[in-house]
């Protein structure tokens, strides 16, 4: 398994001899074959051999070849222009720039494939190159490979590489960094070397956000540069500090160069390398592709770094200070306005700079220039030049650190070069001659040991550099899995890339939509067929059980004993009313319950009439109540021989429901002026001297409806005063009337045949309907109880069985 090649795209293992990943079809082997002699390591100081890479062009993609052809033309034109203006364009130090070989790529690639900073380096209007960071920038680009950004035409990385198309700085209004570079390209402004990689084209998107802010800071910077070359801090201080960069930063000194002073004591530990470059969300997709696969990329730091990078876009780059000693949150403040710096530069600066104050340095560039110009080699040599963070993903060891720990001489010389020393634009055909390579570039070439280590780590890494200063070198730059991961643009397929969670949610949505459109059977109970036989059985047994005692007139069952309090209250009212006192009786029950109500009410009226001979005044809010009164008087109370207009008066029907009761309670004389026979009621004997409800001795409501009882209770609440109020109700209404007795709004309650039977026992042994019905009633109740219990349990079992069967069926 150790020989397996891990796909940089999908991380799947593939056989070593496979050229493409069998899972995602990503190229596993280098695109070009190793050149002759490429395997031989290059010794330090050895001049590189010019290689003709034109033979490899046929295998390039068509788009790349087209881009290369167009770039060659542009480069030729640019070269001619440079030759015509040698004083302005040709750098004094070297005719071949460090990244001269990239020019061919620049010419070959599409417009967006070249970062601006790179175009500035190789272009006509290139800027002075900044020390060691640019070397990393170059290296970084080359590590990316030729087609790293080829597919990133639509993402942020394409714009990053826009400068590769032409050596001329593009007058892109959005690319403020290039304007800044153009300003630097002006000898008057760029009085000191400047890092060539500090372009936003090389920066990820997060740095290109600096556009707006850059406009402001750029003008300030330009002004500062033009005046003294120093930003906010005095130039003298900067120079002074720059001369002694290893000194610890002075607290009271300007923040803009404190970070510069801190560059010397910076540690070189690899862990201190900020990985914000590769871990930030705004990093172009080419990098995020690698980062997505490296989960160990310090998430905790990335958050803070993201913030930092956001602030970077808004602040001046002078705040670029050492970040490794600061928490990420503090770093973010410090890295404001890094807009002019490339990520590589920022990285190196962060590594080398001690903690500093917040950025307020519009003249950061001046200080940087000062530091760069006077940076002692030994101080720079202490800087930990580590590979980019994306290399950490696959390079667990620090082997690569040694490659960059030494500052090449050429870098310093580049820094010391006058601003006018612009690199010459070279094409691929004009490959850099080995003897033209600067010494520091040669010193950057991999040492044997390093390469061997790399080779041991990545045996399959035999990529031959096809262009640039490293042209012809094989395996110099680790293009292992990590690099490939890092540099290879993320494959953007036309397929929608969704996560598992999104898929699950989409599936849920589909289910919901399907459920909405699909016909849903209405859940309904299965029709429980009426059992006619059961109905007949019940009718038969009930009729038999009731008819027998009624027919035989049995009195086997004893009447209930133990008078409850509500019945006792009614009993006390019946016995306590004065002799011949007027009693108002409301007859509000339906003819259907005439048997029950007469059986319930008769005992109380019988006893009351027998004991007190009250004058009864009947009124009814029920249509049939008036006629039921006559039936009651002529039926159960017939023995008392009460005469209408003398012992009792029937006021008849009171319409209006609650309104009628309220009106009657408020003013009974006006509301019911006539009796049943339309005679004047209030002049009659039963109502003599009565003009209001409270003048009655008692109020008795005989009703089968709890609503009627409630209405009488409610509407007479204030009118009846303290007169006793008894309700004789049907058994069905008693449960809802009981609370009114409990609240003492009524004085007594007699309910149903049960209450009548109770009351009847206190009638001096006078027989009544309750006694006549009681045996049949008791049998009927017991029969019902038995049938409900037995039948209920039986049907419960049947129902459970049916439900279980239905469940099993389903």
């Amino acid at each position: 398994m150790s020989d397996m090649i891990k796909c940089p795209s999908c991380a799947e293992n593939n056989l070593p001899d496979q050229e493409f990943c069998q899972y995602c079809q990503t190229r596993l082997q280098p695109l070009t074959d190793p050149l002759d002699g490429a395997d031989a390591p290059i010794k330090p100081g050895q001049a590189p051999t010019k290689k003709n890479t034109a033979e490899l062009e046929p295998i390039l993609p068509q788009w790349l070849r087209d881009a290369r052809d167009s770039a060659r033309k542009d480069d030729q034109q640019a070269t001619q222009q440079n030759l015509q203006q040698p004083s302005q364009l040709k750098p004094a130090s070297s005719a071949k720039d460090l990244l001269a070989g990239l020019q061919s790529q620049a010419g070959d690639d599409e417009e967006d494939d070249m970062p601006d900073w790179l175009a500035s380096i190789t272009g006509v209007n290139s800027k002075p190159i900044k020390s060691q960071t640019e070397s990393f920038a170059v290296r970084w680009v080359e590590l990316g490979g030729k087609d790293d950004f080829a597919k990133d035409e639509s993402d942020g990385s394409s714009s990053d590489l826009a400068g590769l198309k032409s050596s001329e700085p593009q007058p892109d209004e959005n690319n403020e960094v290039r304007d800044w570079f153009r300003n630097l390209g002006n000898p008057e402004q760029a009085q000191q070397p400047e890092q060539s990689d500090s372009t936003d084209s090389d920066l990820p998107d997060w740095l290109r956000v600096t556009g707006s802010q850059n406009e402001k800071s750029k003008s300030a910077d330009s002004a500062d540069h033009s005046e003294s070359g120093v930003g906010e801090p005095p130039a003298g201080i900067i120079s002074e500090e720059a001369e002694s960069p290893s000194d610890s930063p002075k607290p009271n000194q300007d923040k803009s160069f404190e970070w510069l002073k801190s560059t010397v004591p910076a540690t070189s530990s690899r862990e201190e390398i900020p990985d914000w470059l590769s871990n930030d969300a705004a990093v172009p997709p080419a990098f995020t592709a690698a980062e997505d696969e490296s989960a160990e990329l310090k998430d905790a730091q990335s958050n803070g770094i993201s913030d930092r990078l956001e602030t970077v876009a808004l602040q001046s780059p002078s705040s670029l200070t050492a970040v490794e000693d600061e928490p990420s949150g503090g770093i973010s403040d410090r890295l404001k306005a890094v807009e002019f710096q490339s990520p590589i530069h920022t990285e190196s600066e962060e590594k080398t700079i001690e903690p500093a104050q917040d950025a307020d340095t519009l003249g950061w560039l001046d200080t940087f220039q000062a530091v760069s110009a006077y940076q002692p080699e030994n101080s720079l040599a202490q800087v930990d030049f580590t590979p980019l963070d994306f290399a950490e993903d696959f390079q667990a060891s620090d082997n690569m650190d040694g490659l960059f720990t030494d500052i090449p001489d050429g870098l310093l010389s580049t820094l010391e070069a006058p601003p006018s020393s612009l690199p010459t634009a070279d094409t691929n055909s004009e490959a850099i001659a080995p003897d033209d390579q600067p010494s520091w570039v040669e010193s950057m070439r991999p040492v044997d040991s390093d390469i061997s280590e790399l080779s041991s780590n990545f045996p399959a890494d035999q990529t031959v550099e096809s262009s640039g200063v490293l042209a012809g070198l094989s395996g110099v730059l680790p293009s292992g899995l990590g690099f490939a991961q890092m540099s290879r643009p993320k494959a953007y397929s036309t397929k929608l890339q969704v996560s598992d969670e999104q898929l699950a949610q989409a599936a849920l949505l589909e289910q919901i939509l399907a459920a909405e459109t699909a016909p849903v059977p209405i859940a309904s109970f299965s029709v429980l067929r009426t059992s006619r036989s059961l109905r007949w059985f019940l009718a038969f047994i009930v009729f038999v059980m009731i008819t027998i005692p009624l027919f035989m007139r049995t009195q086997m069952f004893s009447l209930p004993v133990g008078v409850p309090m509500d019945v006792n209250g009614a009993l006390q009212v019946a016995q306590a009313i004065p002799e011949s006192a007027p009693v108002l009786v409301a007859f509000d029950y339906e003819p259907a319950r005439v048997g029950e109500m007469e059986a319930a009410a008769a005992p109380m009226f019988d006893q009351m009439i027998l004991l007190r001979h009250p004058h009864l005044t009947f009124i009814s809010t029920n249509e049939t109540g008036a006629i039921l009164v006559e039936r009651f008087i002529s039926g159960p109370l017939a023995v008392h021989n009460y005469q209408s207009g003398i012992q009792y008066l029937n006021l008849g029907y009171l319409p209006g429901g609650q309104m009628g009761i309220r009106a009657f309670a408020q003013n009974p004389v006006v509301t019911s002026p006539f009796d049943m026979s339309l005679s004047s009621a209030w002049d009659s004997i039963p109502l003599e001297g009565i003009s209001s409800l409270s003048q009655f001795a008692a109020l008795i409501v005989v009703t089968d409806d709890a609503e009627a009882a409630r209405t009488w209770i409610e509407q007479t609440e204030s009118a009846r005063g303290a007169i006793p109020f008894v309700v004789i109700s049907s058994a069905q209404a008693a449960p809802m009337i009981q609370p009114y007795y409990e609240s003492q709004q009524i004085s007594g309650l007699v309910s149903g045949l049960y209450g009548g039977a109770l009351f009847e026992q206190y009638n001096a042994g006078r027989p009544g309907s309750a006694r006549a019905y009681w045996d049949a009633y008791s049998l009927g109740m017991l029969l019902a109880m038995a049938l409900v219990l037995v039948g209920g349990l039986w049907n419960l079992a049947l129902g459970l069985r049916e439900r279980v069967a239905a469940g099993e069926t389903q």
């Binding site: 009731i546 009624l550 029950e596 309220r662 009114y740 019905y773 009633y777």
Partner: protein
Amino acid sequence: MVFSSDLVTGLLSFLFTILIFSYLIGDNPLFRIAVYIFVGVSSGYLAALTWWQVIVPRLIYPLVYGSVLEKAFTAIPLLGAVLILMKISPRLAGLARIAMAFLVGAGAAVIIAGALSGTLLPQIAATINAFDLSAASARNISVVEVVFNGAFILAGTVFTLIYFHFGASPKADGSIRRLRLIEISASVGRIFIGITLGTIFAGVYAAALTALIERISALINFIGNY
């Protein structure tokens, strides 16, 4: 052959009782005949009763025999009565809204005052007074019994009221439910409501059984008498 009123009454009663009881066998024309006649007779009796108990004494008498002031005051309900009678005509039914609005407004006021002063406040006070020890001692009820019964009454009242609280809020899963505490209280309230409805059912059955007993007794008496 002379038919006494009692005989006619008993005969009609027997006949209609049998016709109605025939429903126990199943729905049949005899049952329908009895029901339709019963509805017609009841409506006719109601109409006659309304005429003689409402229209004549409250509307016609004041207009005929009343004073000027009484006539004036009676003219307004007369106008309202005419408007209500407009409901018979579909074209003029809209005019009845005026009288109906008066009826509805008057009814609303009556039920508001009645519910407030007759049920709401007294019942709430009674729930509180269920723990009144002095009132209990006056009724010769022990303290333990008062507290025990009062607690049940209070719990039944509160939980039943909570059961009728249907306010709910949407949950995270999209379902709309009541609060957990409300749900638990409503479950307890459901038990009390079940007991109350069971009590009412027993009362309805007792009333129906008494009616059945009265009818069978009437049948037996009619058969026995004639």
